[in-house]
């Protein structure tokens, strides 16, 4: 089951940019690509916890602002020679609004 929660408008996020949302399990970074796709991943780089929401977005990847680790926005996996991953969260866009599947947040809370 999915639980879609409206978290804001697509245009609230700059193109090739990100904003964060606060949750009880920590901050989640919401990215908007040049192609107007939206992705949600943990806002903490697996390397040293850098805020990924402040990185440069290119294609479907983001480069961490602290030490340049590159992560895929859709899979959460580190690219190139680096290894590591962040959690990803399902999103969709409906009529210009961004919806986030919050069931995963709840599961983590129960666990």
């Amino acid at each position: 089951m999915t639980d879609w929660t409206d978290i804001g408008a697509l245009e609230d996020i700059p193109e090739r940019g990100a904003r964060i949302i606060k949750t009880h399990i920590g901050c989640i970074a919401i990215f908007r690509t040049a192609e107007n796709e939206v992705f949600a991943i943990d806002d903490a780089c697996p390397h040293k916890g850098g805020p990924l929401s402040e990185g440069i977005v290119h294609g479907r990847s983001v480069t961490c602002p602290l030490h340049n680790m590159v992560l895929r926005l859709d899979t959460g996996l580190a690219q190139g020679a680096d290894s590591g991953a962040v959690n990803t969260y399902a999103t969709r866009i409906d009529g210009g609004r961004i919806l986030l599947d919050t069931t995963q947040l709840r599961r983590e809370r129960v666990a």
Binding site: G8, R19, I21, K22, I30, P51, H58, N68, T102
Partner: protein, 814 residues
């Protein structure tokens, strides 16, 4: 026995459905056709050719009065349907009710009108039907008529091109960064904009409309949110469509964005079908014609009681504007397991991008040469396995068949007169002759033949010719390309930006043949700097292509907090400033207050959401951003000089402040630190700065190219001057030369190593005209650069970006 069918809406979808119906079920249906427009079915897609004068209305009518009569269709055109009474099974029109066995709703969509102030003025129209088309055509008859089109999508651009063809002066306003962003990527959008502009259509992207202006109830212009006012006689809004669901909603049918239908095109009432732009199927709504024709066929089958299912297919888009050849199909977003194949031919203005997933082609965008569009679209639709031809796929069907080609073999097979370098018209044999004549390196070949010496995109080909000719004797060039997106070096790209007047990132990526669609984290900040440096006042700084510190105007710390450094001109502060800094440190619970090596105070550990507030407080106390994060002027460090020091020879603090006030705000390839020492004892450490001044009795010694970081390097003396004014002119000139010539991230000493001190002395010291020109260019650019980023970012429009998009901590706890 005939059955009663009522069709509401005479659009393209319902017209096609009626054709199928009369063909497969002749004599079965007694059809009544309602249409709010006072005419029957015509090909709405062909309105643009009508507007452009390529076709007449009569030519685009799909069904005329004779056709309706011969099929016994009762036409009730110009009559609105008031409601569908599902209990009594009648459709009630303005002129009376009609009983039905089945209803097909094909009410289409309404153009969306942005509710801007003034949207109800006369002369503000959508682009939807023949009346709108005629209004636009009528405008062409007025000499000097001006029109504005809001919306740079398919329809808006066709409207703009159509009016232009009628002689109207047209401006397109588009809110997104590039045209047709739903069908095109940025590169193709750039080429489209370029060819529209060549046709004389003005195109403004990233433009927000604020208010439609009018006089005496009639439109007279448009104001944008940046204050620009554009006069016009007609304003066309082409920003999108909304499915027309009112009738269905009133009848109590299930409705979302559109009227809900199942695969058989049946609504939540088994006797009522819907099709066309008014429906929603599996969450999708439809604006292009191909799926509507499929729906028409399915609806006709369903009415005949035969099973049929509508399955959405990949659709292709082509713009019907003469001279703008573009094609897009499928899904061209990047993704895991997806691969891009990009082909650019800058000389011909061609851009092609294929997106592959596994062994299948799933998307294609093309501009300039779309001849193979249908073939690619076929591969996408049929889910064809393309793995055998992937290396040559982008060259189209003509290139397929036969053994997969080895690129070297292909070059070997080229005849001697085949052109290798398009810019300079150099053919293969010329290059081979040069190599046989002793040219063994790429730069030899470039020097002797000019091949690949202009735009550089044929460098790979030239190298292949060299590899073939020299065999094992060939060593590929070792010059490092700028990044994996391009074979060009930083210097190649800088040269091309200037020589070809490339003024946007999309322009650079297209004209220099970038192999990626939107660059990477390494080339984007560099390009942003080059464009900003070379086109002051023209290029719009792109925040999203800046590293975090410059985007946030603060230095990010390892825990994700930021540091805030107010500017202290020449390292001089006052008790009032110190009090304001202390207050701010208390108020925002600053973790650490540190005095920096550049004579500034650093407030460390400020949370992102507090940044606009702390900046506003410091602004209110008269301080501005110290730009301690910038690839730009950081600090001018000074000693106390002749004001207080018994050894001081000149007013070193006063000069330092003057320099800092003149030079702050300018972006440079890497950080720039300066210092002014009042005597050769050099207390301000001028001899390890990018630009250092040492005051002596007779004047000022100017040092350049020092550094004291990873690399320790003393300065070199550039010259000695007599007055403070000269210090300023020479400093501005040397900084400008550095800005124009260095590669991004290259410190001044590194640049000096590459170009040599003599070159700098020649341009800045010996040649006075060159110095003045450099200083003039520097100060011209400063007009656009010297804006305090804090003051800008404490404005409400910016503030929101520093706050979280949403806070779900409470929601999840419920």
């Amino acid at each position: 026995m005939t059955r009663n069918l009522i069709v509401i809406g005479a659009g393209m979808a319902s017209g096609r459905m009626l054709e199928h119906l009369f063909e497969t079920q002749p004599g079965v249906w007694n059809v009544t056709l309602f249409n709010a427009e006072p005419r029957g079915n015509y090909n709405r897609l062909m309105l643009s050719p009508v507007l452009a004068g390529d076709k007449t209305y009569a030519e685009i009518v799909t069904h005329d009065a004779d056709w309706y009569e011969s099929h016994g269709v009762t036409c009730r055109f110009g009559e609105k349907v008031l409601r569908i009474d599902r209990e009594a099974q009648v459709v009630v029109g303005e002129n009376g009710a009609v009983p039905y066995d089945r209803v097909v709703i094909a009410t289409g969509s309404n153009p969306f009108m942005i509710p801007l102030p003034g949207h109800d003025l006369e002369g503000v129209i959508p682009y939807r039907d023949l009346d709108d088309t005629e209004t636009m055509m009528a405008l062409g008859a007025r000499p000097g008529a001006r029109a504005i089109v809001i919306g740079g999508g398919l329809l808006g651009l066709e409207a703009a091109a159509g009016m232009k063809a009628q002689g109207v002066d047209v401006t397109v306003i588009h809110v997104m960064g590039h045209l047709m962003e739903r069908q095109l990527d940025e590169a193709a959008g750039y080429l489209l904009k370029k060819s529209l502009e060549e046709k004389g259509i003005n195109v403004l992207t990233s433009a927000n409309s604020q208010e439609i202006l009018g006089t005496d109830g009639r439109v007279s212009g448009l104001r944008l949110d940046d204050g620009t006012e554009l006069p016009c006689d007609l304003l066309v809004m082409a920003v999108g469509i909304r499915p027309n669901v009112a009738l269905a909603q009133e009848a109590g049918l299930a409705v979302g964005r559109g009227i809900h239908v199942d695969d058989a095109m049946v609504t939540s009432d088994a006797n009522i079908l819907a099709l066309g732009e008014c429906v929603e199927h599996q969450g999708a709504v439809f604006g292009l014609v191909a799926p509507l024709y499929d729906q028409a066929k399915v609806a006709a089958e369903t009415l005949g009681g035969r099973p049929a299912a509508f399955t959405p297919k990949e659709v292709a888009t082509k713009l019907k504007v003469t001279g703008c050849d573009l094609f897009s199909a499928g899904d061209f977003a990047e993704g895991e397991g997806r691969e891009d194949i990009v082909f650019r031919d800058p000389a011909r203005g061609v851009y092609k991008r294929l997106v592959l997933e596994g062994s299948r082609l799933i998307g294609a965008v093309m501009y300039g040469d779309t001849g193979d569009g249908a073939w690619f679209h076929g591969l996408i639709k049929d889910h064809s396995d393309v793995s055998d031809m992937r290396d040559t796929l982008i060259f189209g069907p003509a290139f397929q068949g036969g053994a997969p080609s080895d690129p070297l073999a292909a070059v070997a097979a080229l005849p001697g007169d085949a052109e290798i370098c398009g810019c300079n018209g150099i053919c293969k044999s010329t290059i081979v002759d040069a190599i046989n004549g002793g040219a063994t390196t790429l730069s030899d070949v470039r020097a002797q033949t000019k091949a690949s010496a202009s735009c550089g995109t044929c460098t790979g080909l030239v190298e292949q010719v060299m590899a073939l000719t020299l065999g094992d004797g060939f060593e590929a060039q070792t010059v490092k390309p700028m990044c994996p997106c391009t074979p060009l070096t930083h210097m190649d790209v800088r040269r091309l930006i200037k020589s070809r007047a490339l003024k946007s990132m999309a322009a650079v990526m297209q004209e220099c043949g970038w192999t990626t669609s939107c660059g990477c984290a390494s080339c984007r900040p560099a390009l942003n700097y080059y464009l900003l440096c070379d086109w002051p006042g023209e290029y719009q700084d792109d925040d999203q292509s800046r590293f975090v510190n410059e985007r946030m105007h603060s230095n990010i710390q390892k825990d994700g907090t930021y540091s805030v450094v107010p500017r202290m001109w020449g390292g001089i502060t006052t008790p009032d400033e110190l009090r304001a800094i202390a207050d701010a440190a208390d108020k925002y619970a600053v973790q650490t207050v540190k005095v920096t090596g550049g004579q500034r105070i650093d407030l460390l550990g400020v949370k992102k959401q507090d940044l606009p507030d702390i900046w506003a407080d410091l602004n209110a106390a008269g301080m501005v951003s110290g730009q301690a994060y910038a690839k730009g002027l950081r600090t001018v460090k000074t000693c106390v000089g002749s004001d207080h020091c018994r050894f001081g020879t000149q007013d070193s603090t006063g000069l330092g402040i003057r320099m800092e006030k003149a030079l702050w705000g300018s972006w440079t390839p890497a950080k720039v630190k300066m210092a002014v020492s009042g005597c050769p004892r050099n207390c301000a450490e001028s001899t390890c700065k990018d630009v250092g001044v040492i005051c002596v009795d007779s004047g000022y010694v100017l040092h350049i190219g020092g550094a004291a970081g990873l690399h320790i390097q003393g300065t070199e003396v550039m010259c000695t001057v007599r007055t403070e004014d000269e210090v300023l002119e020479y400093t501005a000139a040397v900084v400008q030369l550095y800005r124009e010539e260095a590669a991004y991230l290259e410190r001044m000493y590194k640049w000096m190593d590459n170009v040599g001190l003599d070159h700098i002395v020649e341009r800045v010291v010996t040649d006075a005209d060159s110095r003045r020109a450099l200083a003039d260019r520097f100060y011209y650019a400063q007009k656009f650069m010297q804006q305090d980023p804090w003051a800008e970012r404490t404005k409400p429009a910016y503030r929101a970006l520093y706050a979280p998009l949403a806070d779900l901590t409470l929601e999840a706890a419920e």
